[in-house]
Structure formats: C-alpha cells, structure tokens
Amino acid sequence: MVNPLYILAIGLGGAFLLGLLPNRQRSLAYAITLACLAGMAGIAASWLYAFALQGAPAMEVFTAGTQPPFAINFRIGLAESTLALLTLLVGLHSALFMRKTLITQGRRAMAVLLIFMMALCGVIFTRDLFNLFVFMELCVIATAGLVLLSTDQRALGAGLKYLIVSQLVSILLLVGIVFLYHSTGALNIDTMAALSVNALPGGAMAFFLVFIAVLAELKPFPANGWGLDIYESAHPAFSAIFSTATGGATLYAADKLLQLGGDTWLPVVTVIGIVTFIAANIFALAQRNDRRLLGYSSVGQIGLLLSVVGQRDLLGDAYYYIAGGLLLAHAVSKAGLFWLSGLVAQRELTAWAALRSQPVMVFAFATLLALLLGLPPFPGFYAKWDLAQQLAANDKLWLLGLILFGTLLEATYLLRWFGYTIKRDADEQGLVWQSGKADVVFSAVMAAWLLAYLWGYLSGHGNLLHAIPLLFALAFLPLEWLPAKLKNVLAIGGLLAWFYFNYPDYDPLKLIFAAVMLPGGALILLASFQHGKRRLGFYPAAMLMFAGLAMLINAHTSFDFFAAWELLTMGSYFLILRGKHSEPHALSYLVFSLGGAFLIMAGFAIAAQGAPEFPLTALAEVATAYAPWVFVLLAIGFMTKTAAVGVHIWLPGAHAEAETDVSPMVSGILLKAGLFGLFMLLITMGKQQLYGVELTHVLLWIGALSALIGNLIAIFQEDAKRLLAYSSIGQMGYAVFGLALMNHLGWLMALMFVINHYIYKSMLFLSVGGVAKRTGTRLMYRMGGLITLMPLSFIAVLVGIIAMSGVPPLSGFGGRWVLYNAIMTTEQRLPMVIIFLAGPIAFLYLFRLIHTVFLGQMKDELRKVREAPFWIVLPQMIFVAFLLAFALVPGLLLRRVDTYMNQFFAGSGGLDWTGLTITSDFGYWSPVQIMIIIAVIFVTLFLWLLFVNRKAQKVKQFNIVFAAERPYRPETTHFAWDFFAPYRRALGFLTVPVFERFWAAVAEFLHALADTLRRFYTGNGQTYAIHVLGFVIIVYLLMMGDQP
C-alpha cells in the first residue's frame, strides 16, 4: 500500500510548486492543483480498495525511523481511508466547482486549498496528540483564508469571528495537551490510551481540556454561531468542504480522543451531541436563508453523529456501519446541497423554485434531501434503523426519542423547502446554469445512489435496491421523457404483473389488501390517461407509493415493513405535493406521517430488543413488560395513516387539494396501509393492557369518535372534495372501530370497509374531480342542476352515495349489516351509541352531493359544461358495475376471509354462507332478495310519482321574478350555502377544531421558540467567543457536579 506520507508530500509539494509558477500561468496552476488532488484521492482510493475488498490489515506508518511514542506515527485503516477519500473527493469536486474563482484568485488560493486538504488528511491519519493540534491549526488558518474566496463582503467578518474562537480553542488545547503529556509521559494517543488517563493525577482534567477544545471545533450548541456565519457567507464550494470534510475529520479526531479518554466520557458526548442536534433543528425552523439553513442542518448532523459516537460502547461492531452511514449521508448530501446552492442565484429558500427550469435539478435536490434525511434506500435509513434497534435494546429510549424528534424537525424544514421549490413562483434568471458546476452536483447525486447500494449491500436486512417494486418505480425516472400515456400503460402493466406473480403467495387477508392496492391502483390509473404530454414527476412518485404498498404487503420482517412504510409515505408525499394549492397540506401530511413512522420504528425497536431480524409474527411473543408500549406506539403510528381523530388534521387538505386522479389514490388506497398495519398488529399482539386499561377499548373509542367527528365536520363543508375527505376520517373510524371489537364480525366489517371505502371513495373523488374540472370550482353552492349536463357523473355519485350511506341495496348496506351485527357483540355501550349516531349523519352530507351539485337550479355560467372526460368517467363506470356485483355476491371475496379468520376467533361468531344468503347470530342477509325487494319498491314509487305529477307544468329556469337587489355576498343567498346551519347551531361545538388548534399551537410554539432563541446568535464575534468559553465552563461544572 502507498505510504500516507505521500498524500502529505503531494499536497505540500504541490502547494510549494505552485509558488514557483509565475502568477500569470493560472490555468497551469489550476491543472497542477487538480492533478495533486486527484493523485491524493487516488492513493486514498487504492487503500480503500485494499481494506474493503482485499481485507488488508490496518497500516502503521512511523516517521523519523523511530517507534512511537517517541516519534509521530500514522495509522491507516478502513475508517481512515474512507474518510480521507471522502475529504479528498469533496475537495477535488469543490475545486472543480470553484474553477473560475480559483483561477481569478491565482495560484495562492490553490496552494491554500491544497494545504487545507493535506491538513485534513493529517488530522485523520495522525496518532499523535500534538501533531493533531498542528494539523488542526493548519486547517484553521486555511479556513480563514478560503473563507475569503467568497464574493460576499460579510465573509470577512465571519472569518474574523472564526479566528477569534479558534484562538480561544487553541489556548485550551495547548494547555490540555501539555498537562496530558505531563501525566502520561507521552503524546502518542495509543500509548496514552493504554494508561487509563482518568486515573492518573491531573489526567482527567487535562483530558477534559483537550477534549472540550476539539468538541468546540465541532460547533456544539451553544458555541456555534461562528460556524453558521461561515456557512452563510463563504463560497458554497468551500462551505461544502467545511461542512463535510472538516466536520468528518474533526469528528474522527474526537473519536480518537475518546479512545484515549475511555468510556467514562461517552455520556458527555452523547448529551452535547443530542442537545446540539435538537437546538440546531429548532433554530433552523425559523431560517429563510438557504445556506444558513444548510449550516444549521450541518451543525445538527454533526451533533447527531456526536451522540452516536457517544454510543460506541453499545454499538460494538455496528458502530462504524451506523456512524459511517450517517456521516457519509451527511457529507455527500451536504456537499451536494451546498454545490447546488451555488447554482441558485438568490438566497431566499423560495428562490430555489428556479430549479424547476431544469427538472433534473429537482431530481438532484430530492435525492440529496432524501439522503440527508435518511429516507430509504439511502444509508442514513439503514443506519438509523440499526441505531434505533440498539438504543431500544439498551434502554436508551430517551435518546431514541430525542433523535427521532430532531429528525422530524429536520424533515419539516427540509421538506418545506422542497415544497417551495416545487410550488413557488420561479424567477427566470434564478438558476445560474453552468454545466461544469452542474456536473459536480451530479457527481454527488451519483455518489448518493452508490452509497445507497453499498449500504444496502452491507446491511443485514437485505438490499432495498434489489426490491423489484422499488426498482420499477425508480425506472420511471430515466423514462420521464416518454409521453404520459405510454408511461401510464407501463405503470398499469407493472401493477397488474406484480399482483399476478404474487397472487399465489397472498393469504386471504393480504389478498384483499393487495387487490385494493394493486389492481385497484391500476383501475384508478385509468383516469390518468386523460393527461397528455409528459406529466413530469407524476409516475416516479405514484409508482414509489405503489412500490411501498406492494412491499408492505409482502413484508415479513419489521425492517421490510418499515422500509415499505417509508417508501409509500415518501411517494404519496410527492404525489400530494403535485396539487395546485397543496404545498402546506402536503407538508402537514408528511410531518404527521413521518412522526407516525418514527413511532412505528420505535415500537419495532422496543419489540425486537436487539434481535438482528425481527419477523412480524414475533410481535406475538414480545415480553409482557414492553408489549403494551409496543402496541401503543405501533397503533398510534398506524392511526396517523388512517387519520384517526386527533392526528387527522393533515387529511382534509391533503386529499382535497390533490389532483383529480391522485385524490382517489391517496384516499381510496393509501389509507388502507394504516388499516393493514392495524390488522397486522391486532392479529399478532391481540389484546393488551396498560395500567389496567384495555387498549383495544381505547381504540374502540378512537374509532367511534373519529366516525362521529369526521362525519359531523363533513356535513358543514362547502367544498365537495373536502367533504369527501372528512368523510374518509369517519369511514376509517368505522374500520378502526370494527377492528377494535376484536371479534370475527368486527374484523369482517373492517375488511368490508377496506373494499367498500376503496370503491366508493375512489368513485366519488373521481366524479367530483371530474365535475370540479369542468366547472372550475369545488364549492357546491356554485354548482347545481348538473344532472342533465353530466349524467354519467351523476349516476356514479348516486350509486356511490347509496353504497356509502349504507342504505339498501348496495354493498354499503352489507357493510352496515355486518357492522350492526358486530356492534351487538360488544359490551361497550357508549361507543356503540356514538357509532350508531354517526350513521345518519353520513347521510346528511352525502345527500348534499346529489342535491346541491346535480339537482336544483342550474347556474348560468355553467350552462355550457360538458360531461367529464372519458378517462375519468370510465373507471367510475367500472366501479359502478363492481359495486352492483359486490352488492349481489359479497361472498365472492369475503367468504374466504371469513374462513381464514376462524383461526383467530376459533369457531365463534362466524357467518354462515349458504347459497346467496348470509346468516349471523342476529339474523340473515340475502343480497339478491334485498335487491329484488328494493327494485320493486323503487319502481312502484317511481310509477306513483309519475302518476301524481302527470299534470305538472314544466317551468323554465328563469321563469321567476327576481328582486332588484344584489346582496353583498351573493353566495349567501344560495339555498345550498351553509345548508346545515341549524345543525351547526346544535352540534357545532363538536366540530370546533380543537386538534387543529392544538397542532397549530405546537407548530407556532416551536417557531416562536426558534425565532426567540436564535437571537442569542448576536453576530458579534466576541459574544461567540464568550459562548465557547461559557460552553466549556458549563460542561466543566456539570461534570464536576457529576463526579465530585
């Protein structure tokens, strides 16, 4: 292997050589710089190859022909070579990115850059404490020099602040080093480590100084104002180095020091790290400048890494996999994002909307954000999963909770930023497109996917990038240039093919979910045929969601389940975000979903107790000490997806604002993922008690209240899509209620809801979407009399609401019938009453859909409206046919499930399926008979109506006298305006948006907190130095309090 000193020699030699060049030959100087960086990176790459693929042992390198501790030595192992390669590659790419700046500034700037990279490598390699100090000082000075490459005048101030702080740090460091030397008689880290420093006289104190000084370089809260200023004002390519390479190298130095100090220092690191992580992410919430935001995020990520470093004793062998995964994810994404920010002209977050002029940049941005957030399939995902497992197994739930909370905050501001990029107005000159710089960004994107593959390969859980559904979804990215119709064919084909090939493996329960999600998805995708052109971004997002759903059903281990869950969450987020006004709603959907996902992750982690693989079936065997907690976490997690009351506030906006063909997907299909999870949970864990409370009873209540409140709010909606969205909350409430009954009929009912809700909600969303498309509004009082203009839509809505409201003869009645049968079996009277109450309420809002939209007076401006487009009507008609069929022979699907369920509720309360009649303990239901009876009644009534009205006179619409006045708000005079006002007066108190207010208050509080606390970064360099000193003293006092 090549001696690491050659890296130093190349870096330094290159820098000195540049000094020999005449100032004019700048291109030559630039070429030399690149060659040196590439050479250094090549050496690091050759080591990585040797260590990773050939299993070479770590290399010790001595200088001066003398053994350590008497001379300085280096050590190169897998970690060192990886970090060095990362550092040098980031440096090389930043040099490519800064080409113009470097050439303008001349050879001196290039020499400084080379020395900086060399010094960073030195920090990584060296095993000598004082040598570490020297390299760190080199980094400091080089940083102070490179900050000045920025065109931003303010960088000057930032550089000075940095120098002031590092003076303070180096004073502490030097004093610490010499006292540590005095205690141990050596400067070699390994020699010192062997002596157990803390026991030596003065050793602990000296180590404290050294360690705290190195930590201070890692920008811990609150001593990090200087770092943020540099991020904000420096050249973005330098910030990329400063965030990733400097951060990584210094972190590794801290890691080395910890080997010296021993495990007693780990808790300190953990606390400092996690406090920094949380604080930085809270502050970032209030940030509007992109680079400062990235700075906060960098600070936070390093904090997270520190807290992982603090767990090195727990993590054992997994330490490098986890810490490395997080570090590389942070490094590549942060470097990429900083580079990307160099292409955006303005510094406001909203200015990133300019990326849309190059869709491929949006892809780059999304990749980098996903990498940063640790979403599947990127390394951070595997790392966080493993970390969660270890933390839960070692009773460090508080840390896990804080990490997840911080990650959620991070996701909030990063994806809000993504939302701006997708939805805000773009400035035409906003993107400074330079292909050289763009290539640098893309190399980061490539690296991101490479790392994703590598971490999947190394993971003990299998490689997500080998999952066919995910690959299928990703394959739509390179196919984006195809016309939308062709992609739609591919998508439908893919869904059906996957269903076909997996059909034999589904058990009846999974079959129902799979049928709803896959062929069901294909059916809704028919509506997407109406879109022309390319429809950029739709198919990758939609297929990502479907991939997640497909994988969710096939999941056998907790890891697979969670990965699928995250995938479908992300896919649906991108999908929802496409809606015209959906930016805030998509964000709130995502925040709730991710929050729920994190609860699920925590639940699984607690359940597994450190087992490397945790099959879902093993949930049944979780020790009783944790089982209720696992149950609670998982149940809440799943119920955020089903939008149970309390965590439902994301749903109305997200579903209502989505595109016409997306609403049915996210409503009809996506919600079922939560039900699937609940099924899985209840099948395995069954009834659980927490502090004597039967948890399924709690679920019962939640279900009942969701049903009531969802329906109640729905009746007061003026917006047709919102009405449907609220009704979904109610419907999911029914399903949860059914599940929570924990008996045969209850589950059967829940399953019927799975199918029915899919059908009629998809259908209604499509027809209402079609109407909205034609009329240009979703407000019902603006419509009216559309029955003659849009007859097919009318039929769909009519059939849909009949099915949904549970009146005979359609399948909704079957659902109700099973429901009432099921309810009778419970002892919980009060929730039962509530559920009963919710039923008629549903009818009130459904009635409005028909009455206000299709009947009544036709609006003048809607006189020329045509029927909804063919492709939107087609699936509706298929649904109608299906509803009729399902109403006639519900046994077709449910029978197998019914027998399947016998294994869970042995023998009791099943249904009897003989012929076309279904019999329960309470009575029987014969769909065909009912259908015939209803038909007879209907026909009789209809004929009677015709007879009674035979002399009626047709009145033209305008054959009335108008009063000659024009009200201030004309819509208030419309009969359909605030239709249920009397009910509102009576029941309005139930619809007070308490939960909306609660969550809004939480968000408000966090933002206000961020806005107040960040003022603590006054911008004064001296104050920052005082912060650093204060940080040192506080940690000192806390530790003294801890160990007198």
């Binding site: 050659y6 022909g65 003398t66 060296t126 004093v175 602990a204």
Partner: protein
Amino acid sequence: MIRNFAVLLLLLGLAGIFIHLMQGYIPATELNQSAHYYAAHSAEDLGAANIVTAIIVTYRGLDTLGEVTVLFLAATIIGMVLANGHKAQRSLQRQLPPSGELLTTASRLLTPLILLFGAYVFVNGHLTPGGGFQGGAILASAALLLLLTDPLKRFSHRLIAVVESLSGLLFIAIGVLGMVLAGGFLDSRILPTGAFGTLFSAGSIPLIYSLIGLKVGAEFTSMLNNLAETEKS
C-alpha cells in the same frame, strides 16, 4: 457592564479549571519515558547535541513541517488578500522625506551582518540554542531594517517566492528520501551522523534546519513585504 461581569464570571470558572489542573500537577523528579528516550538516544542515534533540535527536526519533524506550512499558509493568504487591488495604487504612494544618511548607511552595513548572523544561528541549530526559526526570524529582521529605512523599498516577490518554494520542496524531498534511504519520513540519518559536536554532523539535521531557516526567513519577509505594500497615499 453586564458583559464584562459575565466575562469575569466565566474567567473565574476557567481559573477554577486551571487551579484544578495545578492541583493535579506533581512536578516530575525523573524524566518520563519520552524524555528519557530523547535524553538517552538522540545524541547517540542522531548525533545532535541540542536535543530540542533533534526532536524538532527529526522525532517530531512532521510537526515542524506543519509549522513551516503554517507560516507558508499565513504568508500566502496575506499575499492573496492584500495583493488584490493594491498594485494600481503604487504610483500614488506618498513621498516620504528621505531617511537620514546615518540610518541608511548603518542599515547597509548592518544588513549583511544580520544575514550572516541569521545563517550562523540556523546552521548551528543542532549544536547550540537556536535554529531555523530563530535564524529565519533574524533574516527577516534584516529585511525589516531595510523596509524601515526606506519605506518605498520593495523586495522581489519572485525571489521570495522562489526561495520559499524551493526550500519547502527540498524539505519535503529530504523527508521522502528519509523514507527511501533510512527508517522513515524525515529520518535524518540519510547522511552520516559524523563526529558528535561538529558542524557537519547529525545527518541531515543542519541541512533541514537551514532550509527551514531560509523558508521561514522568506515567509516572514513576504508577510512584512505584503503588509508594507498596503500603504496607501
């Protein structure tokens, strides 16, 4: 002021840390393992009478390389920062009254002497106190003297840069030679250790220290020179 009071309070805390450190400090009566090794071996192995020099140039030569690089870096950055936008103002520089005859003559006379002294200090670094850094500083003081007597005097950037870079490159080259010919990077035993206590002894230590001296001198000069050039009218 509140701020001063807060600083005072924090420094009181720092003083507490220092007192804590001093409490743990037990003056050594014997040399510790590292120092013992240096005392016992450096003269024998490396042939350097000045053990500090042996440590600086050989045992911890990497630190010294870093140290030289710090100066190089500082000089380079100062050059980079100050070079921007000052060239054009050269002609505007104010006319200073000429320095006194005495001063000029004295400086002309003194400069070679100072240079010689500087060279003496770094060449003898392995034998007597002093070495490259001190010698380099002395070299730079000669330049300083010239700058002071004649504020408009400018040194050739080119010359400084060449000295700076060449000595740096040679330093690295010797270091790498140590890796090839002897036990490791910067091993000074690529040259014979010679007779103990003589000028041409201690392997490559005098050579390296001389290079350091030249480089440090050049770097200091370059810093001073660049700062001097900033003078505006």
